[in-house]
Structures are given as structure tokens and as C-alpha cells.
Symmetry: C2
Subunit: 302 residues, 2 copies
């Protein structure tokens, strides 16, 4: 069954990602919090903090089911009596401002009618990179890794999912300034005449499996970079924008909060130390301004 296979996949992917991040960090270990959902199911939140590289990060899985509340049905724009949802969600905030933050999520939903028949099922997910300083080779590498993964399934997918990522991770209240330099974002991927549900399962799993290939080389490249207090200050300012996006706009976060999800697991995504200055503007011609200009006008990288 699609459902059981995907659950096995995210469980082993969580282990693999945590093990690799621990290895590169070399100092901190992930702790695990297993939790149960009162309405059915539960999850394992794995959190790393104060590492040599990773200041705060979470790699969480949740496998939940139960009654579809009116609020959840409204948020998901579906009708049904019951639901099943499984997903892996991760956000990694490095200490060194030269190492980008990364986010990824892969998820599967099923909706059932009163008789328990599956009436709807879809996959969603993606990954996106949030650098504090722009190193073009890194962004090209990250996007190329995503493109290669997409192209193996259908050459049409990457450009569509890349555009959706730029469009989704946008701080609309800041004139469409993007949260980062993007990646891919896909959602509501249902089985249809063109692609089967199994196609999307394979795709979503493959995208999870190549996550480390996209991110780890960038960490490796910059983990020993030197930085100044001013670089750290800028990182904290940019982290403020990350908080704004997640709490004001992110559908996953708002869905979790509105449907009484586990708050600590949902808000694990927030950066560890954040700065909100009034009307902060980077100096003209600076590296900080160069990044900001790019976030306002996303580029095609590959």
C-alpha cells in the first residue's frame, strides 16, 4: 500500500538525515521526543541544538489519522469524514552565517468517506535554501540537484515546481521579498491520467532521498568560513524574515496551529536567535543588499 510504503520511507529517511547531520556536525546529537496525538497517531520530533555547526534544527515525522475536523477540512479544501497524513518536515539553522538555512518537507494525505473508502489522496513537498550571503555556485548546485531529481521523472516538472517554490515562499507583506533562493515546491499531486499516485509516491521519495546531496556539500564548503559580528547581525535580521514568513504565511504552520497540532513540533522551525530592527536597510552596494535584490527578483539558476 502507498500509505505503508511512504511511512516506512519517512521513518528511514529521518534516521538517515539525522545520522548524516550528526556526522558532519561532529559535536551535537539529535534528541528524540515521541508524542501521541489525542485524536489518533503521533510522531517523533528529533531536535539538534548548540552543535559545532547546527545551532538549532529539527527533523520531524508525524503519522496521524482520525476524524477530519471542519477546520481541517476547510484549510485543506476537501470533504470527508476521516483523514490520514504522514510527513517528514525539517528545518536546519546553522550558527555560521556563511552556511545557509535549509527547509524540506514531504507529505502524503488520504481522505475517507463515512464508509472508510479513500475519496482523495495526494502528495506534496519540496525543499528550499535560505542563505544569508549569496554564493552563486552553491545555489546552482542546490537547484541542479533538484532539477536532476525532477528530470528523472519528467522534464516538465522542475521549471513548474521551481516557479511554485518562488511563488510560495514569499513575504507578501514585504513586497514579495522571498524567504530564500528557492528550490522546488509541489502540492496536491493526485493520481490522474498523466501521472499515477504511485508516480508521485516514487517522486516524493526520490526527492527526499537526494536532499542531503543538495545540502551537505554546501555545509562542507562553508562550515569553516570566518565571519564578523556584522555578518551575524545580518543573519539575525534575515532570521526575523524567516519568522515572519512562517507565522504569517506558511500554510503548514498555520494548518498545524489551527488544527491543534503539537505546538513545539510545529514551531521547531523558528530560528534560535532573531533580531527585529525597525526599518533595517543594508548599506548600498553591500553583499547584504545584493542578496536582498535577488530575493526580490528570483533568478533561473539552472
Amino acid at each position: 500500500m502507498v500509505k505503508d510504503q511512504f511511512v516506512q520511507h519517512i521513518q528511514s529517511l529521518q534516521n538517515k538525515i539525522c545520522a548524516n547531520l550528526e556526522q558532519i556536525d561532529g559535536k551535537a546529537k539529535f534528541i528524540a521526543d515521541k508524542w501521541e496525538r489525542p485524536g489518533g497517531g503521533g510522531g517523533t520530533t528529533r531536535v539538534i541544538s548548540n552543535g559545532a555547526i547546527f545551532e538549532k534544527g529539527g527533523v520531524n515525522i508525524s503519522i496521524v489519522q482520525g476524524e477530519l475536523s471542519p477546520m481541517a477540512a476547510q484549510q485543506l479544501k476537501v470533504n470527508g469524514e476521516n483523514f490520514f497524513a504522514a510527513g517528514l518536515s525539517l528545518v536546519i539553522h546553522p550558527f555560521n552565517p556563511m552556511v545557509p538555512t535549509v527547509h524540506a518537507n514531504w507529505r502524503y494525505f488520504e481522505v475517507y468517506d463515512a464508509k472508510g473508502k479513500v475519496t482523495d489522496a495526494w502528495f506534496g513537498g519540496g525543499t528550499d535554501l535560505t542563505p544569508y550571503y549569496l554564493v552563486e555556485e552553491d545555489v546552482i548546485h542546490f537547484h541542479a540537484t533538484q532539477k536532476k531529481c525532477c528530470d528523472a521523472f519528467d522534464k516538465k516538472l522542475f521549471s513548474q515546481f521551481k516557479a511554485q517554490c518562488d511563488s510560495y515562499f514569499s513575504n507578501h507583506h514585504r513586497g514579495g521579498e522571498r524567504r530564500g533562493v528557492g528550490g522546488i515546491f509541489f502540492d496536491h499531486c493526485r493520481g490522474n491520467e498523466e501521472y499515477s499516485l504511485d508516480f508521485w509516491k516514487e517522486f516524493t521519495e526520490a526527492n527526499g532521498n537526494i536532499f542531503l546531496d543538495g545540502y551537505l556539500p554546501i555545509v562542507e564548503n562553508h562550515k569553516n568560513d570566518s565571519f564578523t559580528d556584522a555578518n551575524k547581525y545580518w543573519q539575525e535580521i534575515r532570521r526575523g524574515r524567516y519568522v515572519e514568513f512562517n507565522l504569517l504565511h506558511d500554510r503548514g504552520t498555520l494548518f498545524g496551529i489551527k488544527t491543534n497540532g503539537r505546538t513545539e513540533s510545529i514551531l521547531m522551525s523558528l530560528p534560535p536567535i532573531v533580531r527585529f530592527d525597525y526599518d533595517y536597510q543594508p548599506a548600498a552596494g553591500s553583499e547584504e543588499e545584493r542578496l536582498l535584490n535577488l530575493l526580490r527578483q528570483p533568478r533561473e539558476w539552472v
Copy 2:
């Protein structure tokens, strides 16, 4: 006219509050940003930062009018063609964790039909205190000041507005943990058989006029208190909850963001430096835990 009188009031109140806060701070001065709203009207954002006492604060007025957008009408739950809104909004974040954060807002709305006739008009506002360490005399003083102000108008008002404040400033996603120790909150105060619109104007103005009486003595009492790194850490954790409330739940913030308000003026309310730890728990029996317990179970102070 109610409208013109209230505009004059908030203009002079802004000057008075800024002058008094500058005086007690003794180091930093407010800067002023005047801005215009593309659809009509504008405001003056006044911001203080890196003071001897006040790490970040804003005392803003806005006086705006124009077409009532469908989004604004939906948010306000009103019908009409045009609107007028005037308000003063302030948030003060002291550096010393022994000095509480304070917030206040006083506002007036008018809605017009296609012929320009006023079809709806109401006042709203209030003030609330967010300490990081609980000093009961301070909270009693703050609430007593509010009660005295309310009682001069009608003895019924305080308990109602105090309860509304506790109910409004609640982080629902954290089991109803309150943002602070409350104060008063009132909204949709229209003229009716019991109270005239003029009654509410007088009340709202009076509440603005006693704001400093409630807050300044508390600042004076604690501005020279010593504190540890651990106290500062706790302040930064609690500031995280302030951010969560403002971005996830605060109607004023979400209204501003959704109706394309001036982002920097709206988000001036966010604390300067904030910490988000995974599942932070204060030590059993600590002062930090004592505060948290109170935030979960608000008390009657006067």
C-alpha cells in the same frame, strides 16, 4: 466633530508619551518617520532604540481614509463604501528584564455609504503589561490605574474590559498561555441607548491620558535593578511568545498585513532580540515558573 477631536487627541498624546519616555530614558531620542498611504491619509511612526532603558519602542499614529476594500470589510465585519480610521499604537520593549514591556492602542473607525453618510462608528483600545518577572505590587498598580479610569465613567466597565483583555491576549496554541498580566481591552464601542459615541470618545481619550500613570512608576521602580544572563535569556524566550501572539493571533497586526498597511509601522511591535528554543521549560519552583503559572491562570488584581 468626534473625528477631528480624536485626531487632535492622538497627536498631542503621541507628543506627550514620547517626551515622557525620552525623559525617563535619558539617553535615546525618538526618531520620526512620516508616511503617506497611497489610498488616502498617512501617519507618523516614532521609534526609540538602544536607549539606556528602552531597547526598542514605537509610538505610532495613523490617520487614514479611503475606499473600504472587500478584504478590510471582511476583516472588520462591516459593510460600506469608504472608511476613516485614526489610532495611536505603542509597544515599548525595555532592555532590563526586570522592567516590563507595555502595549497600548486607542482607535476610532467610521464607515460611510456611497453617499458619504456615516453608517457605523466605534472606538476601541486598551493597554496591557508584559512583565518577565512577577512583582505583584506593580501589577496591582497597573490594574488599579486602569480601574480608576474606568470607574470614573461607569463602575461596570473595568471588570468587563479586564476580562476581555485576558481573553484577547491569549496564545491559544499554547493552551491559552496569556501574553502578559493583562490590563483592559475594549472594542466595537458604538453609541447606543446606554452610552453615546461621545461617551466612548471621552473614555478612550481618558484611557490614553492615564497611560503614563500606569507604566512610568513601574519603569522608575526597576530601571536600576540588577539582572543576570539567565534573566536576560528568559526575557528573550518570553519575547518569542510575544512574537507568536502578534504574528499568529493579533487582529490589529493581521488586519494591517492583510490590507497592505505600512509593514515597518505594524511590525515595529516585535521585540528587538528574541530566542526560540525547542520546548523550553523553566525550572520547577523558579520565579520563571511562577510567572508562567500566572499567565496560564489570570488573577483578579484589584
